[in-house]
Protein backbone atom coordinates (compact mmCIF):
# COMPACT_ATOMS: atom_id res chain seq x y z
CA UNK A 1 0.00 0.00 0.00
CA UNK A 2 2.18 2.83 -1.24
CA UNK A 3 5.32 1.29 0.18
CA UNK A 4 6.50 -0.60 -2.86
CA UNK A 5 9.17 -0.06 -5.43
CA UNK A 6 6.93 2.13 -7.55
CA UNK A 7 6.53 4.51 -4.63
CA UNK A 8 10.29 4.71 -4.18
CA UNK A 9 10.88 5.18 -7.89
CA UNK A 10 8.51 8.13 -7.97
CA UNK A 11 10.00 9.67 -4.84
CA UNK A 12 13.51 9.37 -6.25
CA UNK A 13 12.40 10.79 -9.62
CA UNK A 14 10.79 13.79 -7.96
CA UNK A 15 13.87 14.34 -5.80
CA UNK A 16 16.18 14.07 -8.80
CA UNK A 17 14.01 16.51 -10.75
CA UNK A 18 13.97 18.96 -7.87
CA UNK A 19 17.78 18.88 -7.62
CA UNK A 20 18.42 18.88 -11.36
CA UNK A 21 15.98 21.60 -12.45
CA UNK A 22 17.98 24.57 -11.11
CA UNK A 23 21.11 23.25 -12.80
CA UNK A 24 19.65 22.06 -16.11
CA UNK A 25 17.45 25.13 -16.33
CA UNK A 26 20.14 27.50 -15.02
CA UNK A 27 23.83 27.27 -15.94
CA UNK A 28 23.25 24.43 -18.40
CA UNK A 29 20.08 25.88 -19.97
CA UNK A 30 21.71 26.55 -23.33
CA UNK A 31 23.56 23.25 -23.54
CA UNK A 32 22.41 20.04 -25.17
CA UNK A 33 20.99 18.56 -21.97
CA UNK A 34 19.57 21.86 -20.73
CA UNK A 35 15.92 22.61 -20.01
CA UNK A 36 14.32 25.63 -21.63
CA UNK A 37 12.25 27.97 -19.45
CA UNK A 38 9.24 26.87 -21.49
CA UNK A 39 9.80 23.21 -20.64
CA UNK A 40 10.59 24.08 -17.01
CA UNK A 41 7.28 25.92 -16.85
CA UNK A 42 5.38 22.87 -18.17
CA UNK A 43 7.17 20.59 -15.71
CA UNK A 44 6.28 22.99 -12.92
CA UNK A 45 2.61 23.10 -13.87
CA UNK A 46 2.41 19.32 -14.10
CA UNK A 47 4.07 19.06 -10.68
CA UNK A 48 1.31 21.20 -9.18
CA UNK A 49 -1.25 18.85 -10.78
CA UNK A 50 0.55 15.90 -9.22
CA UNK A 51 0.37 17.69 -5.86
CA UNK A 52 -3.34 18.24 -6.36
CA UNK A 53 -3.85 14.58 -7.28
CA UNK A 54 -2.00 13.48 -4.13
CA UNK A 55 -4.38 15.66 -2.11
CA UNK A 56 -7.42 14.01 -3.69
CA UNK A 57 -6.03 10.50 -3.38
CA UNK A 58 -5.49 10.98 0.34
CA UNK A 59 -9.18 11.57 0.93
CA UNK A 60 -10.67 9.53 -1.91
CA UNK A 61 -8.24 6.65 -2.33
CA UNK A 62 -7.66 6.07 1.35
CA UNK A 63 -10.69 7.38 3.24
CA UNK A 64 -13.13 6.63 0.41
CA UNK A 65 -14.55 10.17 0.35
CA UNK A 66 -14.89 11.37 -3.24
CA UNK A 67 -14.62 15.07 -3.84
CA UNK A 68 -15.69 16.49 -7.17
CA UNK A 69 -14.80 19.94 -5.93
CA UNK A 70 -11.09 19.96 -5.29
CA UNK A 71 -10.86 22.74 -7.87
CA UNK A 72 -12.40 24.93 -5.17
CA UNK A 73 -9.41 24.60 -2.85
CA UNK A 74 -6.99 24.78 -5.77
CA UNK A 75 -8.60 28.00 -6.98
CA UNK A 76 -8.64 29.47 -3.46
CA UNK A 77 -4.88 29.04 -3.22
CA UNK A 78 -4.56 30.51 -6.71
CA UNK A 79 -6.74 33.56 -6.04
CA UNK A 80 -4.97 34.32 -2.79
CA UNK A 81 -1.49 34.26 -4.33
CA UNK A 82 -2.79 36.31 -7.28
CA UNK A 83 -4.13 38.94 -4.87
CA UNK A 84 -0.73 39.06 -3.22
CA UNK A 85 1.11 39.57 -6.51
CA UNK A 86 -1.28 42.27 -7.73
CA UNK A 87 -1.34 44.12 -4.44
CA UNK A 88 2.41 43.92 -4.02
CA UNK A 89 2.94 45.21 -7.57
CA UNK A 90 0.48 48.04 -6.92
CA UNK A 91 1.98 49.09 -3.61
CA UNK A 92 5.66 48.72 -4.46
CA UNK A 93 5.86 49.21 -8.21
CA UNK A 94 2.77 51.31 -8.78
CA UNK A 95 1.33 48.88 -11.31
CA UNK A 96 -2.43 49.40 -11.27
CA UNK A 97 -4.29 46.07 -11.45
CA UNK A 98 -6.60 45.71 -14.47
CA UNK A 99 -9.59 45.05 -12.31
CA UNK A 100 -9.25 48.52 -10.75
CA UNK A 101 -9.06 50.10 -14.17
CA UNK A 102 -12.15 48.52 -15.65
CA UNK A 103 -14.16 48.85 -12.46
CA UNK A 104 -13.09 52.50 -12.24
CA UNK A 105 -11.85 52.05 -8.69
CA UNK A 106 -9.28 54.39 -7.25
CA UNK A 107 -8.40 51.99 -4.53
CA UNK A 108 -8.71 48.29 -3.86
CA UNK A 109 -11.66 47.03 -1.78
CA UNK A 110 -11.23 46.36 1.93
CA UNK A 111 -10.64 42.63 1.67
CA UNK A 112 -7.41 43.37 -0.22
CA UNK A 113 -5.85 44.86 2.92
CA UNK A 114 -2.46 43.45 3.97
CA UNK A 115 -2.19 41.32 0.82
CA UNK A 116 1.08 43.07 -0.06
CA UNK A 117 2.58 40.99 2.75
CA UNK A 118 3.73 37.55 1.64
CA UNK A 119 3.67 35.99 5.13
CA UNK A 120 0.08 37.20 5.58
CA UNK A 121 -0.91 35.72 2.21
CA UNK A 122 0.93 32.47 2.88
CA UNK A 123 -0.86 32.11 6.21
CA UNK A 124 -4.22 32.72 4.53
CA UNK A 125 -3.41 30.12 1.84
CA UNK A 126 -3.15 27.57 4.63
CA UNK A 127 -5.89 28.88 6.92
CA UNK A 128 -8.79 29.86 4.66
CA UNK A 129 -9.03 26.65 2.61
CA UNK A 130 -8.37 24.71 5.80
CA UNK A 131 -11.25 26.47 7.53
CA UNK A 132 -13.58 26.01 4.59
CA UNK A 133 -12.71 22.31 4.33
CA UNK A 134 -13.13 21.87 8.07
CA UNK A 135 -16.51 23.64 8.18
CA UNK A 136 -17.95 21.79 5.18
CA UNK A 137 -16.46 18.48 6.30
CA UNK A 138 -17.70 18.88 9.86
CA UNK A 139 -21.25 19.60 8.77
CA UNK A 140 -21.31 16.79 6.22
CA UNK A 141 -19.57 14.09 8.22
CA UNK A 142 -21.58 14.84 11.36
CA UNK A 143 -24.85 14.49 9.47
CA UNK A 144 -23.45 11.36 7.80
CA UNK A 145 -23.58 12.82 4.33
CA UNK A 146 -21.36 10.57 2.29
CA UNK A 147 -20.76 8.90 -1.04
CA UNK A 148 -22.37 10.38 -4.09
CA UNK A 149 -24.32 12.96 -2.05
CA UNK A 150 -21.12 14.33 -0.58
CA UNK A 151 -19.50 14.41 -4.03
CA UNK A 152 -22.44 16.24 -5.58
CA UNK A 153 -22.43 18.88 -2.86
CA UNK A 154 -18.69 19.48 -3.33
CA UNK A 155 -19.42 19.99 -7.01
CA UNK A 156 -22.28 22.35 -6.23
CA UNK A 157 -20.14 24.38 -3.81
CA UNK A 158 -17.48 24.77 -6.47
CA UNK A 159 -20.10 25.84 -8.97
CA UNK A 160 -21.49 28.40 -6.55
CA UNK A 161 -17.97 29.74 -6.04
CA UNK A 162 -17.57 30.01 -9.81
CA UNK A 163 -20.77 32.02 -10.17
CA UNK A 164 -19.66 34.26 -7.34
CA UNK A 165 -16.25 34.84 -8.90
CA UNK A 166 -17.80 35.63 -12.27
CA UNK A 167 -19.36 38.74 -10.73
CA UNK A 168 -17.30 41.85 -11.29
CA UNK A 169 -18.43 43.69 -8.19
CA UNK A 170 -17.05 41.17 -5.68
CA UNK A 171 -13.57 42.58 -6.15
CA UNK A 172 -11.94 39.42 -7.44
CA UNK A 173 -11.66 40.42 -11.08
CA UNK A 174 -14.90 38.89 -12.34
CA UNK A 175 -14.76 36.86 -15.51
CA UNK A 176 -11.42 38.42 -16.50
CA UNK A 177 -9.90 37.12 -13.32
CA UNK A 178 -6.51 38.38 -12.36
CA UNK A 179 -3.42 38.67 -14.49
CA UNK A 180 -0.54 41.03 -15.18
CA UNK A 181 1.50 39.86 -12.25
CA UNK A 182 4.75 41.75 -11.76
CA UNK A 183 6.79 39.73 -9.35
CA UNK A 184 6.70 37.21 -6.56
CA UNK A 185 9.16 37.31 -3.69
CA UNK A 186 11.44 39.52 -5.77
CA UNK A 187 11.36 37.22 -8.80
CA UNK A 188 10.35 38.97 -12.00
CA UNK A 189 7.44 37.24 -13.71
CA UNK A 190 8.37 36.08 -17.18
CA UNK A 191 12.10 35.87 -16.43
CA UNK A 192 13.64 32.48 -17.32
CA UNK A 193 15.10 32.11 -13.85
CA UNK A 194 11.66 32.59 -12.28
CA UNK A 195 10.15 29.81 -14.37
CA UNK A 196 12.90 27.45 -13.26
CA UNK A 197 12.63 28.37 -9.59
CA UNK A 198 8.84 28.08 -9.52
CA UNK A 199 9.08 24.69 -11.23
CA UNK A 200 11.66 23.59 -8.69
CA UNK A 201 9.43 24.74 -5.84
CA UNK A 202 6.54 22.78 -7.39
CA UNK A 203 8.41 19.51 -7.80
CA UNK A 204 9.81 19.99 -4.30
CA UNK A 205 6.32 20.53 -2.89
CA UNK A 206 5.01 17.48 -4.76
CA UNK A 207 7.87 15.42 -3.33
CA UNK A 208 7.23 16.69 0.20
CA UNK A 209 3.50 15.95 0.00
CA UNK A 210 4.17 12.55 -1.55
CA UNK A 211 6.50 11.56 1.29
CA UNK A 212 4.33 13.11 4.00
CA UNK A 213 1.16 11.42 2.78
CA UNK A 214 3.12 8.20 2.25
CA UNK A 215 4.15 8.25 5.90
CA UNK A 216 0.66 9.15 6.96
CA UNK A 217 -1.12 6.35 5.13
CA UNK A 218 1.31 3.75 6.47
CA UNK A 219 0.78 4.98 10.04
CA UNK A 220 -2.03 3.80 12.34
CA UNK A 221 -3.92 6.91 11.24
CA UNK A 222 -3.72 5.69 7.64
CA UNK A 223 -5.06 2.30 8.66
CA UNK A 224 -7.94 4.08 10.33
CA UNK A 225 -8.68 5.90 7.07
CA UNK A 226 -8.67 2.62 5.16
CA UNK A 227 -11.03 1.20 7.78
CA UNK A 228 -13.37 4.15 7.21
CA UNK A 229 -13.27 3.39 3.49
CA UNK A 230 -13.80 -0.36 3.84
CA UNK A 231 -16.57 -0.31 6.46
CA UNK A 232 -17.26 2.92 8.28
CA UNK A 233 -20.16 1.51 10.32
CA UNK A 234 -18.00 -1.35 11.60
CA UNK A 235 -15.40 1.15 12.78
CA UNK A 236 -18.04 3.26 14.49
CA UNK A 237 -19.41 0.20 16.29
CA UNK A 238 -15.88 -0.56 17.46
CA UNK A 239 -15.94 2.67 19.41
CA UNK A 240 -14.48 5.23 17.01
CA UNK A 241 -16.22 8.47 16.24
CA UNK A 242 -15.32 8.33 12.54
CA UNK A 243 -16.04 12.03 12.02
CA UNK A 244 -12.59 12.97 13.33
CA UNK A 245 -10.25 10.87 11.18
CA UNK A 246 -12.28 11.81 8.11
CA UNK A 247 -12.26 15.47 9.01
CA UNK A 248 -8.49 15.47 9.62
CA UNK A 249 -7.76 13.86 6.24
CA UNK A 250 -10.28 16.03 4.42
CA UNK A 251 -8.91 19.27 5.87
CA UNK A 252 -5.31 18.29 5.13
CA UNK A 253 -6.36 17.39 1.61
CA UNK A 254 -7.98 20.79 1.11
CA UNK A 255 -4.87 22.60 2.36
CA UNK A 256 -2.55 20.61 0.08
CA UNK A 257 -4.83 21.41 -2.88
CA UNK A 258 -4.67 25.12 -2.00
CA UNK A 259 -0.85 25.01 -1.89
CA UNK A 260 -0.92 23.42 -5.33
CA UNK A 261 -3.10 26.25 -6.61
CA UNK A 262 -0.81 28.88 -5.09
CA UNK A 263 2.13 27.33 -6.96
CA UNK A 264 0.17 26.93 -10.19
CA UNK A 265 -1.14 30.45 -10.73
CA UNK A 266 2.24 32.28 -10.76
CA UNK A 267 3.37 29.77 -13.39
CA UNK A 268 0.45 30.28 -15.75
CA UNK A 269 0.30 34.00 -15.00
CA UNK A 270 -3.48 34.17 -14.78
CA UNK A 271 -6.43 33.01 -12.75
CA UNK A 272 -10.07 33.28 -13.65
CA UNK A 273 -13.29 31.58 -12.52
CA UNK A 274 -12.96 28.85 -15.13
CA UNK A 275 -10.65 27.08 -12.69
CA UNK A 276 -13.82 26.57 -10.63
CA UNK A 277 -15.75 24.94 -13.46
CA UNK A 278 -17.02 21.40 -12.91
CA UNK A 279 -14.77 20.03 -15.68
CA UNK A 280 -11.61 21.02 -13.86
CA UNK A 281 -12.63 19.28 -10.65
CA UNK A 282 -13.80 16.20 -12.50
CA UNK A 283 -10.51 16.06 -14.37
CA UNK A 284 -8.68 15.85 -11.05
CA UNK A 285 -10.76 12.83 -10.11
CA UNK A 286 -10.01 11.31 -13.53
CA UNK A 287 -6.25 11.64 -12.92
CA UNK A 288 -6.59 9.70 -9.70
CA UNK A 289 -9.01 7.15 -11.08
CA UNK A 290 -6.85 6.51 -14.12
CA UNK A 291 -3.63 6.22 -12.18
CA UNK A 292 -5.25 4.02 -9.55
CA UNK A 293 -6.74 5.05 -6.23
CA UNK A 294 -5.26 4.44 -2.83
CA UNK A 295 -1.61 4.18 -3.78
CA UNK A 296 -0.48 7.84 -4.05
CA UNK A 297 1.84 6.61 -6.82
CA UNK A 298 -1.16 6.12 -9.07
CA UNK A 299 -2.32 9.67 -8.42
CA UNK A 300 1.03 11.10 -9.46
CA UNK A 301 1.23 8.90 -12.55
CA UNK A 302 -2.34 9.71 -13.55
CA UNK A 303 -1.84 13.46 -13.16
CA UNK A 304 1.46 13.45 -15.05
CA UNK A 305 0.33 11.20 -17.89
CA UNK A 306 -3.02 12.88 -18.50
CA UNK A 307 -1.82 16.44 -18.19
CA UNK A 308 1.23 15.76 -20.34
CA UNK A 309 -1.12 14.27 -22.92
CA UNK A 310 -3.29 17.35 -22.67
CA UNK A 311 -0.35 19.73 -23.11
CA UNK A 312 0.80 17.82 -26.16
CA UNK A 313 -2.67 17.61 -27.65
CA UNK A 314 -3.64 21.25 -27.09
CA UNK A 315 -0.66 22.09 -29.30
CA UNK A 316 -2.51 20.97 -32.41
CA UNK A 317 -6.02 19.68 -31.59
CA UNK A 318 -7.43 21.34 -28.48
CA UNK A 319 -11.00 20.53 -29.52
CA UNK A 320 -10.30 16.84 -29.23
CA UNK A 321 -9.45 16.99 -25.52
CA UNK A 322 -12.97 16.62 -24.04
CA UNK A 323 -13.54 13.56 -26.21
CA UNK A 324 -10.26 11.95 -25.23
CA UNK A 325 -10.93 12.65 -21.57
CA UNK A 326 -14.40 11.13 -21.83
CA UNK A 327 -13.01 8.03 -23.52
CA UNK A 328 -10.46 7.68 -20.73
CA UNK A 329 -13.23 7.90 -18.14
CA UNK A 330 -15.23 5.20 -19.90
CA UNK A 331 -12.19 2.95 -20.19
CA UNK A 332 -11.50 3.29 -16.47
CA UNK A 333 -15.11 2.76 -15.42
CA UNK A 334 -15.67 -0.23 -17.67
CA UNK A 335 -12.32 -1.94 -17.81
CA UNK A 336 -9.88 -0.64 -15.24
CA UNK A 337 -11.54 -0.08 -11.85
CA UNK A 338 -8.11 0.25 -10.26
CA UNK A 339 -6.76 2.41 -13.04
CA UNK A 340 -3.51 1.75 -14.84
CA UNK A 341 -2.46 -0.69 -12.13
CA UNK A 342 -5.04 -3.10 -13.58
CA UNK A 343 -3.01 -3.30 -16.75
CA UNK A 344 -1.06 -6.50 -16.83
CA UNK A 345 2.22 -4.83 -17.62
CA UNK A 346 4.89 -7.11 -16.16
CA UNK A 347 7.30 -4.27 -15.39
CA UNK A 348 4.66 -2.13 -13.70
CA UNK A 349 3.33 -5.02 -11.67
CA UNK A 350 6.77 -5.99 -10.48
CA UNK A 351 7.43 -2.42 -9.48
CA UNK A 352 4.14 -2.14 -7.67
CA UNK A 353 4.36 -5.40 -5.80
CA UNK A 354 8.08 -5.24 -5.04
CA UNK A 355 9.02 -4.28 -1.51
Amino acid sequence: MGGGMLFRTIAISLAALTLALPILGGPLAGSGIGISPYLANIIGQIATFALLAIALDLIWGFAGVLSLGHGLFFAMGGYLIAMHMLKEGYVNAGVVPDLMTFMGWTELPGHWAFFESFPYTAALILILPGMLAFAYGWMSFRSRVSGVYFAIITQALTYVAMLLMFRNDTGFGGNNGMTGFVSLLGLQMGAPQTAVLLATASTGAALAAFLLCGQLVRSPFGRMLVAVRDDEARLRFLGYDTVWPKLAAWTLSGVIAAIAGALYVPQVGIINPRLLSPEVSIEIAVWVALGGRGTLSGAVIGAVVISALKFWLTGFAPDLWPFILSILVIVVVVGLPNGLSDLRLPGLRRMRDGR
Binding site: P220, R223, D230, D231, R234, L235, F237, Y240, D241
Partner: protein
Protein backbone atom coordinates in the same frame (compact mmCIF):
# COMPACT_ATOMS: atom_id res chain seq x y z
CA UNK B 1 -31.90 -16.74 38.84
CA UNK B 2 -28.13 -16.68 39.15
CA UNK B 3 -27.88 -13.27 37.52
CA UNK B 4 -29.86 -11.80 40.38
CA UNK B 5 -27.29 -13.07 42.82
CA UNK B 6 -24.66 -11.09 40.96
CA UNK B 7 -26.92 -8.06 41.00
CA UNK B 8 -27.26 -6.29 37.67
CA UNK B 9 -28.37 -7.72 34.36
CA UNK B 10 -26.07 -7.30 31.41
CA UNK B 11 -28.83 -5.74 29.36
CA UNK B 12 -32.23 -4.72 30.54
CA UNK B 13 -34.82 -3.42 28.10
CA UNK B 14 -38.14 -2.19 29.43
CA UNK B 15 -41.26 -0.81 27.78
CA UNK B 16 -39.47 -0.52 24.45
CA UNK B 17 -41.45 0.91 21.58
CA UNK B 18 -39.96 1.31 18.12
CA UNK B 19 -41.82 2.65 15.12
CA UNK B 20 -40.78 3.46 11.57
CA UNK B 21 -43.35 5.93 10.35
CA UNK B 22 -46.70 4.18 10.78
CA UNK B 23 -45.14 0.77 11.10
CA UNK B 24 -44.79 -0.50 14.65
CA UNK B 25 -41.74 -2.74 14.72
CA UNK B 26 -41.75 -3.28 18.47
CA UNK B 27 -44.92 -2.29 20.38
CA UNK B 28 -43.87 -2.83 23.97
CA UNK B 29 -40.92 -5.08 24.68
CA UNK B 30 -39.34 -6.09 27.93
CA UNK B 31 -36.22 -8.14 27.56
CA UNK B 32 -33.39 -9.16 29.85
CA UNK B 33 -30.09 -10.87 29.18
CA UNK B 34 -28.05 -11.88 32.19
CA UNK B 35 -24.35 -12.28 32.76
CA UNK B 36 -23.03 -15.74 32.14
CA UNK B 37 -25.71 -16.79 29.69
CA UNK B 38 -25.80 -17.39 25.97
CA UNK B 39 -29.19 -16.02 25.07
CA UNK B 40 -30.69 -17.04 21.75
CA UNK B 41 -33.21 -14.69 20.16
CA UNK B 42 -35.25 -16.38 17.49
CA UNK B 43 -38.37 -15.61 15.54
CA UNK B 44 -39.63 -15.36 11.99
CA UNK B 45 -38.60 -12.57 9.63
CA UNK B 46 -39.86 -9.21 10.80
CA UNK B 47 -40.07 -10.34 14.42
CA UNK B 48 -37.92 -7.38 15.50
CA UNK B 49 -34.72 -9.27 16.33
CA UNK B 50 -32.37 -7.06 14.38
CA UNK B 51 -34.33 -3.98 15.44
CA UNK B 52 -33.66 -4.95 19.06
CA UNK B 53 -29.92 -5.09 18.32
CA UNK B 54 -30.15 -1.79 16.48
CA UNK B 55 -31.71 -0.17 19.53
CA UNK B 56 -29.12 -1.58 21.92
CA UNK B 57 -26.22 -0.42 19.72
CA UNK B 58 -27.72 3.03 19.21
CA UNK B 59 -28.30 2.65 15.49
CA UNK B 60 -32.05 3.02 15.91
CA UNK B 61 -33.51 5.42 18.45
CA UNK B 62 -36.69 4.15 20.14
CA UNK B 63 -39.79 6.21 20.82
CA UNK B 64 -40.16 4.95 24.38
CA UNK B 65 -38.54 2.62 26.84
CA UNK B 66 -35.38 2.17 28.83
CA UNK B 67 -32.25 0.36 27.73
CA UNK B 68 -29.80 -0.24 30.57
CA UNK B 69 -26.39 -1.84 30.33
CA UNK B 70 -25.10 -3.39 33.54
CA UNK B 71 -28.17 -2.09 35.38
CA UNK B 72 -26.97 1.50 35.33
CA UNK B 73 -25.68 2.74 31.97
CA UNK B 74 -28.51 4.35 30.01
CA UNK B 75 -27.65 3.45 26.43
CA UNK B 76 -30.31 5.74 24.98
CA UNK B 77 -28.19 8.71 26.00
CA UNK B 78 -24.99 7.48 24.35
CA UNK B 79 -23.75 7.68 20.76
CA UNK B 80 -22.89 4.54 18.78
CA UNK B 81 -19.13 4.72 19.50
CA UNK B 82 -19.83 5.47 23.18
CA UNK B 83 -22.09 2.43 23.44
CA UNK B 84 -19.35 0.29 21.92
CA UNK B 85 -16.85 1.67 24.39
CA UNK B 86 -19.25 1.04 27.26
CA UNK B 87 -18.94 -2.68 26.52
CA UNK B 88 -21.40 -3.60 23.79
CA UNK B 89 -19.95 -5.52 20.86
CA UNK B 90 -22.01 -6.37 17.81
CA UNK B 91 -21.29 -8.67 14.94
CA UNK B 92 -23.22 -7.70 11.86
CA UNK B 93 -25.23 -10.09 9.76
CA UNK B 94 -22.98 -9.55 6.76
CA UNK B 95 -19.33 -10.15 7.65
CA UNK B 96 -17.93 -6.69 8.29
CA UNK B 97 -14.17 -6.57 8.37
CA UNK B 98 -11.67 -4.11 6.90
CA UNK B 99 -10.77 -6.00 3.77
CA UNK B 100 -7.66 -4.06 2.75
CA UNK B 101 -6.09 -4.40 6.21
CA UNK B 102 -4.38 -7.50 7.50
CA UNK B 103 -6.05 -9.73 10.09
CA UNK B 104 -3.63 -8.38 12.67
CA UNK B 105 -4.36 -4.76 11.74
CA UNK B 106 -8.10 -5.43 11.96
CA UNK B 107 -7.64 -6.68 15.51
CA UNK B 108 -5.25 -3.87 16.50
CA UNK B 109 -7.76 -1.30 15.33
CA UNK B 110 -10.50 -2.93 17.38
CA UNK B 111 -8.82 -2.28 20.72
CA UNK B 112 -9.46 1.09 22.30
CA UNK B 113 -7.00 1.60 25.12
CA UNK B 114 -7.65 5.33 25.27
CA UNK B 115 -11.35 5.83 25.10
CA UNK B 116 -11.27 9.59 25.52
CA UNK B 117 -9.69 10.58 22.23
CA UNK B 118 -8.65 9.06 18.94
CA UNK B 119 -5.47 11.15 19.00
CA UNK B 120 -4.41 9.60 22.30
CA UNK B 121 -5.17 6.19 20.84
CA UNK B 122 -2.95 6.88 17.81
CA UNK B 123 -0.10 8.14 20.00
CA UNK B 124 -0.28 5.03 22.16
CA UNK B 125 -0.52 2.63 19.23
CA UNK B 126 2.71 0.79 20.04
CA UNK B 127 1.48 -0.05 23.55
CA UNK B 128 2.65 -3.62 24.33
CA UNK B 129 -0.81 -4.41 25.71
CA UNK B 130 -2.18 -4.10 22.21
CA UNK B 131 0.18 -6.71 20.72
CA UNK B 132 -0.39 -9.00 23.70
CA UNK B 133 -4.17 -8.84 23.34
CA UNK B 134 -3.93 -9.42 19.58
CA UNK B 135 -1.89 -12.58 20.22
CA UNK B 136 -4.50 -13.85 22.71
CA UNK B 137 -7.41 -13.21 20.38
CA UNK B 138 -5.63 -14.71 17.35
CA UNK B 139 -5.33 -17.87 19.40
CA UNK B 140 -8.94 -17.73 20.46
CA UNK B 141 -10.28 -17.41 16.91
CA UNK B 142 -7.67 -19.82 15.45
CA UNK B 143 -6.40 -17.38 12.84
CA UNK B 144 -2.77 -17.40 13.95
CA UNK B 145 -1.42 -18.59 10.63
CA UNK B 146 -3.49 -16.00 8.74
CA UNK B 147 -2.47 -13.01 10.88
CA UNK B 148 -0.66 -11.12 8.14
CA UNK B 149 -2.88 -11.72 5.12
CA UNK B 150 -5.41 -9.10 4.02
CA UNK B 151 -8.79 -9.80 5.60
CA UNK B 152 -10.38 -9.56 2.16
CA UNK B 153 -8.93 -12.90 1.04
CA UNK B 154 -10.20 -14.86 4.06
CA UNK B 155 -12.88 -17.49 3.58
CA UNK B 156 -16.41 -16.48 4.58
CA UNK B 157 -16.27 -18.37 7.87
CA UNK B 158 -12.88 -16.94 8.74
CA UNK B 159 -14.17 -13.43 8.18
CA UNK B 160 -16.98 -14.11 10.64
CA UNK B 161 -14.47 -15.34 13.23
CA UNK B 162 -12.25 -12.36 12.62
CA UNK B 163 -15.18 -10.05 13.27
CA UNK B 164 -15.98 -11.88 16.48
CA UNK B 165 -12.29 -11.57 17.37
CA UNK B 166 -12.43 -7.83 16.79
CA UNK B 167 -15.26 -7.59 19.31
CA UNK B 168 -13.36 -9.75 21.78
CA UNK B 169 -10.41 -7.33 21.70
CA UNK B 170 -12.33 -5.01 24.01
CA UNK B 171 -13.65 -7.75 26.32
CA UNK B 172 -17.29 -6.73 25.89
CA UNK B 173 -19.86 -7.12 28.66
CA UNK B 174 -22.49 -7.80 26.05
CA UNK B 175 -21.56 -9.63 22.87
CA UNK B 176 -24.28 -9.69 20.22
CA UNK B 177 -24.02 -11.96 17.20
CA UNK B 178 -26.44 -11.37 14.35
CA UNK B 179 -26.76 -14.65 12.41
CA UNK B 180 -23.18 -15.76 12.99
CA UNK B 181 -23.49 -19.02 11.04
CA UNK B 182 -25.49 -17.81 8.05
CA UNK B 183 -23.84 -19.10 4.89
CA UNK B 184 -21.37 -21.28 6.76
CA UNK B 185 -20.44 -24.84 5.92
CA UNK B 186 -21.27 -27.53 8.46
CA UNK B 187 -17.67 -27.68 9.66
CA UNK B 188 -17.53 -23.91 10.00
CA UNK B 189 -20.81 -23.94 11.94
CA UNK B 190 -19.45 -26.52 14.38
CA UNK B 191 -16.28 -24.51 14.81
CA UNK B 192 -18.34 -21.37 15.46
CA UNK B 193 -20.48 -23.18 18.04
CA UNK B 194 -17.29 -24.21 19.85
CA UNK B 195 -15.98 -20.68 19.67
CA UNK B 196 -19.17 -19.11 21.05
CA UNK B 197 -19.37 -21.66 23.88
CA UNK B 198 -15.79 -20.88 24.84
CA UNK B 199 -16.61 -17.18 24.95
CA UNK B 200 -19.21 -17.72 27.65
CA UNK B 201 -17.99 -15.98 30.80
CA UNK B 202 -19.44 -14.97 34.17
CA UNK B 203 -18.91 -11.29 33.36
CA UNK B 204 -20.36 -11.47 29.87
CA UNK B 205 -23.74 -11.98 28.27
CA UNK B 206 -23.88 -13.34 24.76
CA UNK B 207 -26.91 -12.61 22.58
CA UNK B 208 -27.29 -14.72 19.46
CA UNK B 209 -29.80 -14.03 16.73
CA UNK B 210 -30.07 -17.00 14.45
CA UNK B 211 -32.35 -18.82 12.05
CA UNK B 212 -30.48 -22.09 12.42
CA UNK B 213 -32.48 -23.78 15.21
CA UNK B 214 -30.03 -26.63 15.63
CA UNK B 215 -27.25 -24.14 16.19
CA UNK B 216 -29.28 -22.22 18.77
CA UNK B 217 -30.23 -25.40 20.58
CA UNK B 218 -26.58 -26.40 20.68
CA UNK B 219 -25.22 -23.20 22.20
CA UNK B 220 -28.00 -21.24 23.91
CA UNK B 221 -28.56 -21.56 27.63
CA UNK B 222 -31.84 -19.73 27.20
CA UNK B 223 -33.97 -18.52 24.31
CA UNK B 224 -36.50 -15.82 23.70
CA UNK B 225 -38.90 -16.21 20.80
CA UNK B 226 -40.03 -12.92 19.30
CA UNK B 227 -43.07 -12.45 17.13
CA UNK B 228 -44.06 -9.05 15.75
CA UNK B 229 -41.89 -7.37 18.34
CA UNK B 230 -43.38 -9.25 21.28
CA UNK B 231 -41.80 -12.10 23.21
CA UNK B 232 -44.06 -15.14 23.03
CA UNK B 233 -41.77 -17.57 24.76
CA UNK B 234 -38.80 -17.46 27.12
CA UNK B 235 -36.98 -20.48 28.45
CA UNK B 236 -35.19 -23.53 27.15
CA UNK B 237 -34.89 -24.26 23.47
CA UNK B 238 -36.21 -27.81 23.88
CA UNK B 239 -39.38 -26.42 25.49
CA UNK B 240 -39.70 -23.81 22.77
CA UNK B 241 -39.94 -26.56 20.19
CA UNK B 242 -43.02 -28.00 21.88
CA UNK B 243 -44.65 -24.69 22.76
CA UNK B 244 -47.96 -24.29 20.95
CA UNK B 245 -47.69 -20.56 20.26
CA UNK B 246 -44.14 -20.88 18.94
CA UNK B 247 -45.21 -23.66 16.62
CA UNK B 248 -48.13 -21.58 15.38
CA UNK B 249 -45.89 -18.64 14.61
CA UNK B 250 -43.35 -20.73 12.77
CA UNK B 251 -46.00 -22.60 10.84
CA UNK B 252 -47.70 -19.34 9.94
CA UNK B 253 -50.92 -19.92 11.93
CA UNK B 254 -52.11 -17.15 14.19
Amino acid sequence: MDADIRGAHAIQVEGLRVTFGDFVAIPNLTFIASYGEIHGVIGPNGAGKTTLLDVITGKTRPKEGTVLLDGKIDLRRLSEPQIALAGVGRKFQKPSVFEALSVRENLELALRLHTRSILAELRGWADPRRAARVAEVLDEISLNDRADVPAGILAHGQKQWLEIGMLLMQRPKLLMLDEPVAGMTEAETRHTADLVRRLRAPDRAILVIEHDMAFVEEIATRVTVLHEGTPIFAGHMRDARTDARVRDVYLGRH
